[in-house]
């Protein structure tokens, strides 16, 4: 079945649609495939619109394919859904023409669909399926805007933050907090004016954002003892490299690929990967539990009671917390 999905791309594409739609038919296969995953390198790529994420992902995928023709590459490009219509324009394939005709590359565009926790759960399941099916590297590309990239950072093992000269100045980078999730920073369009200044600004932003050394933390925060201690050794601490690329000309791509591989090894050798995964798994299970409890509660409460409580909040005779508590009590034990 697993091998079938790698060769039967239509079946794979259909399964992804079912996962996106929360179709019950997909569930059995998804849960079965999960047990076979865990081999792929999952790379998140995020950054402001226009910084060249799609072009960079295409260049990375193309060179990975050249260097390791046996390793298949999957790309999931997530774009936000329109809050007004629920529709979306998914245009990332536009910049991935160089991958056309390569049967070892699978590209899928996904809309965020705005459902609470939806993008995280569906994307995570799609990634797991691609992993189990045998894709060696899976890229998840998202616009660096709000919750989306945080969710993706949870799914990815290695997060690449892309900036372009002039686009993300120092203040913007810090404000967005996006550098906090970066394992590798790429300054794309580096042939443009201002690339050197952008690298310098990012470097100083990274330096400011770096956590205190472990010894300092002990002194300040006694609860640190409760945490699993960092493994000693040179790989215990990862410093995100800042790399310059011109993705449209495939310049600097080899260095990014090397950094991705290095980070992957760091995750394995330092134990950071296992810790990251443990955190991600726990968050994932809790999010899904929350979703199940919410569905169960909403099913258990009569629609009229639910409507009355919502109306109460609208009229300000109830605080939202009171309404939630009453729904909780009403649904309990049903």
């Amino acid at each position: 079945m697993v091998a079938d999905l790698m060769s039967d791309r239509r079946a794979l594409a259909r399964l992804i649609t079912q996962i996106e739609n929360g179709a019950p038919e997909a569930r059995q296969l998804v849960t079965r495939l999960y047990r076979r995953g865990g081999r792929a390198h999952i790379v998140g790529v995020t950054g402001a619109p226009g910084c060249g994420k799609s072009t960079l992902v295409a260049a990375l995928a193309r060179q990975l394919r050249v260097h390791a023709p046996d390793a298949h590459v999957a790309i999931i490009a997530v774009d936000p859904s329109s809050a007004f219509s629920g529709g979306a324009i998914l245009g990332d394939r536009l910049r991935m023409r160089s991958l056309a005709g390569d049967a070892g590359v699978f590209i899928r565009s996904m809309a965020s669909r705005g459902a609470l926790g939806g993008v995280a759960a569906a994307t995570a399941d799609v990634v797991e399926v691609l992993d189990a099916v045998g894709f060696g590297t899976i890229f998840i590309e998202t616009v660096g805007a709000g919750q989306l990239e945080v969710d993706v950072a949870r799914i990815a093992q290695t997060v690449v933050v892309v900036e372009a000269p002039g686009a993300g100045d120092e203040v913007q980078a810090i404000k967005a907090g996006i550098l906090e999730i970066a394992d590798v920073v790429v300054v794309n369009k580096a042939d443009r004016e201002g690339a050197t200044q952008t690298v310098a600004a990012l470097q100083s932003a990274l330096d400011i954002g770096r956590p205190m050394p472990a010894a300092g933390l002990h002194a300040i925060d006694p609860s640190h003892h409760l945490q699993a201690p960092e493994q000693p050794g040179p790989s215990a601490e990862w410093r995100p490299p800042i790399l310059k690329t011109v993705a449209s000309h495939e310049e600097g791509i080899a260095a990014v690929i090397a950094a991705l591989e290095e980070h992957r090894q760091h995750l394995q050798l330092s134990g950071a990967g296992a810790r990251r995964r443990a955190r991600a798994v726990e968050q994932d299970v809790r999010a899904r539990l929350g979703d199940l409890l919410l569905r169960r509660a909403l099913r258990a409460v009569p629609q009229t009671h639910y409507n009355a409580l919502i109306a109460g909040v609208i009229e300000r005779t109830l605080h939202p917390l009171e309404a939630a508590e009453q729904l909780f009590i009403a649904s309990w034990g049903q």
């Binding site: 179709a23 859904s81 529709g87 324009i89 394939r93 536009l94 056309a100």
Partner: protein
Amino acid sequence: MTTSTEAPLDPSARPLRILIAKPGLDGHDRGAKIIARALRDAGMEVIYTGLRQTPEMIAEAALQEDVDAVGLSILSGAHKTLLPRVVEAMRERGLSDVPVFAGGIIPDEDIPDLKAAGIAGVFGPGAPIAEIIAFIRTHTPIRER
């Protein structure tokens, strides 16, 4: 099956996924972009692949993206050769059940041949957007949610 041009009221109803592509060499994609935006505003997810797509690229994108319909915009005059080749490339990939429609500058006298070649709908430059949306809604088979 709904024929309404309104966005579906049921939020759990899945959005239709539509591929909008431009086969051939002409460099004008304004019409394709207008359609893409209109379909998005009608609640659909539009995969937009841009200019200069080969029939194979379009068919492969339709397959990977698991779309419900494919819309082709063509202004170059090469519709009589290119559009049937898209249908053929899709058929080779087992996508015969995915409806293909076309828009752009297509003379009326060419429409019967295109329909015979498997193009389900042809829309001229003046076609109202609502007509295209209604066409998509009536021609996309209901699949598992």
